[in-house]
Amino acid sequence: MYNTTILIIVSFISAMLTFYVNEELKQGPVRSSAILSLIVAVYFHYYAGAMDSYLAKNIPLVFIGASFIGMVSARLVSSYLLIGVAGIIFCLIFLHTSRFFNGYGGALGTSACISLLAVLSIPIVGKKRKLTNGMIQLRRVLFKINKK
């Protein structure tokens, strides 16, 4: 449980940090994802020290995977929270990834894409709710007029 929590926090931070470097610091998607992951991976490769070997092995993997989410363009998502949520979903998929696809290059990218696409649907569903809220307001107005 302790390890899972740490991995979830890492992916939450990684996705948002990459998006920040990508969009605010204008470093472009590839550089922001690759350099951040390189720093984290090198650190855990050489200076993991007394850290739990499970964490030392998985934190770089989760970090690079979640950083793919941060490569998204601001045209599609602009909310940091949504990107963070996508990071959490990514981590949950990563923890359950099928043993069948173990060792396949690009599996991290696919998980990242799935979690990002899932999160992208939230504004679409949200928009519909706004519309129905509008309908309710309209009905109320009509209802009041009828009462009078």
Binding site: A34, G103, L108, S111, A118, L120
Partner: protein
Amino acid sequence: MEKRHDRNSTIRKFFIVFLLIIQVVFLFAIFRENLQSWWTIASMFILCILILVTYLKGQLHHEDHEYEHILVVLWIPIGAVASFYLNHFLHFGPVISAAAVGSTASFIPGFNKRSHYLKQLPAAIYCGAFIGMSSTGVAPGISFVLTASFFTAILLILSKNLFAGVGGKLGTMAFAGVVITSFVYFLISSYV
């Protein structure tokens, strides 16, 4: 003109459905291994529905269809082999190899800032680097990596304006390339 438009729209639909299938297969594999946990099954269903909503209603693609230039995708095998070499011959591990190749690639546009061609290279090389992250159990040698790069290159050529700016697109292409190649290898080994 009309004919070309029809062909483009067929390719678009084919590609979008293909990517959806790859992702659903990926989720289905998780689903199959966790049949005992209701929590996982429910979340897989919710994820599938959410993805479907985005596929149907999201503004993911540019209107006009374009093809990626072949000179751009030629860099995929270079990225793949470089990353594979760092990963398995120098034993740096998958993350450092892919990230190092990607970091180096991201500085290529700096050589000539006015060149449109150089600006497109980092994405192609980074896409190749994901193929090189495969373990030796999946990718036994350079020939596998080159074949996977070939399939990934075809997918990247077809999908220039599709899923534009979606994070994870490059990874999904690389994954699709690796899956197709291992399927082809599996077929060859079972029938030859």
